[in-house]
Symmetry: C2
Subunit: 198 residues, 2 copies
């Protein structure tokens, strides 16, 4: 498996994307390998070639969802101003509304399902959250260095709190089918960041 | 089932408590009806008598976890002062530390696993979160009425943000096996509440 051809890599990526889509809609427990195989349009032997079992596939899904979120953040650009942070919060809220508040966070929902079942999947989720947090922390650090935020602003704490607001807000939004919890969580976390403006 | 004897109610409660315990440690997908039956010390026919299938049992687990959290809040007393809110936050953080940051939130972790699989379980989770939110909202409303919080403080928004901080903080804490995310999330949400002091 260490020497996948370009075609092999594409097939593997197609399987992971199909699995991520199904898991987001139906959960890990509600998604079978057979459904993923059909959705990806591959044979049983191809499935087994790329992923020895469901556990291996789900681990890849966790990392895939983190990659998807990071790609969106890449497009969004640096989160190093109050305007950029507001746009980021609005994007998170808009995404939930577009999905009728179903599914929760791409990464958080699958993470919650696997974190106590599989140590490697937990480690992948931790790594995904860390990468996301780093985007927020880098932006906040730049704001402090530029003097937009006062020196006592703690980018580590603020980044964690913003990410937790997204995660908790998304779960409550998912349970309630209403974006109000995510809006409230982000409003409050961002109000605190703004209170640290220089 | 509408006319359970006291003994029947006790047996049913024992099954739900055993299921809640196993689901918290292993997740819904990782817990079988047979494991629950053994842990509760009941027969197969008793299991089927009280819960026709796993789905029915998990719905009861969701409500049981909400009841457990509400009972703790009952003991804690009203959350209608800054001192009480700080004690509440510290209790949440302490609970995670005592559990080595495993398992996440009693209600949030099971809610995340079932919300897209079963509409009734989702409704039970929503109701559980609402009851929890109401405890926070009632305390914040009392603080505003007493004049501890300024009139522009919005108890609905603040209660949602505090609950989201617990949920998101607990998930990140669970993924990282470290209480720092929960601490950061609660510190930031409470700092905002404090900024609204009269």
């Amino acid at each position: 498996m260490s020497q996948l051809t370009a075609k092999g890599l594409a097939t593997k990526a197609r399987i992971v994307a199909a699995a991520a889509d199904l898991v987001f809609k139906q959960g890990v427990a509600g998604t079978s390998i057979e459904e993923v195989r059909k959705a990806a349009g591959v044979s049983g032997s191809q499935m087994t070639h790329y992923f020895e079992d469901k556990r291996a596939l789900i681990r890849a899904v966790v990392t895939h969802q983190a990659d998807t979120i990071l790609a969106v953040h890449q497009e969004l650009g640096k989160l190093d101003s109050f305007v950029a942070l507001d746009a980021w919060a609005n994007l998170n809220i808009q995404q939930q509304r577009l999905r009728q508040c179903e599914g929760g966070c791409l990464l958080g929902s699958v993470a919650a399902e696997v974190v106590e079942c599989d140590a490697q999947a937990r480690a992948n989720a931790e790594r995904g959250f860390e990468r996301w947090e780093a985007v927020l922390r880098d932006g906040l650090t730049a704001m402090r260095e530029r003097g937009d935020l006062r020196p006592e602003a703690d980018p580590d704490q603020l980044a964690l709190a913003l990410l937790a607001a997204v995660q908790g807000g998304a779960l409550l939004t998912q349970a309630r089918r209403d974006a109000a919890p995510l809006e409230a969580a982000l409003n409050v976390a961002l109000a605190h960041v703004r209170s640290l403006a220089a």
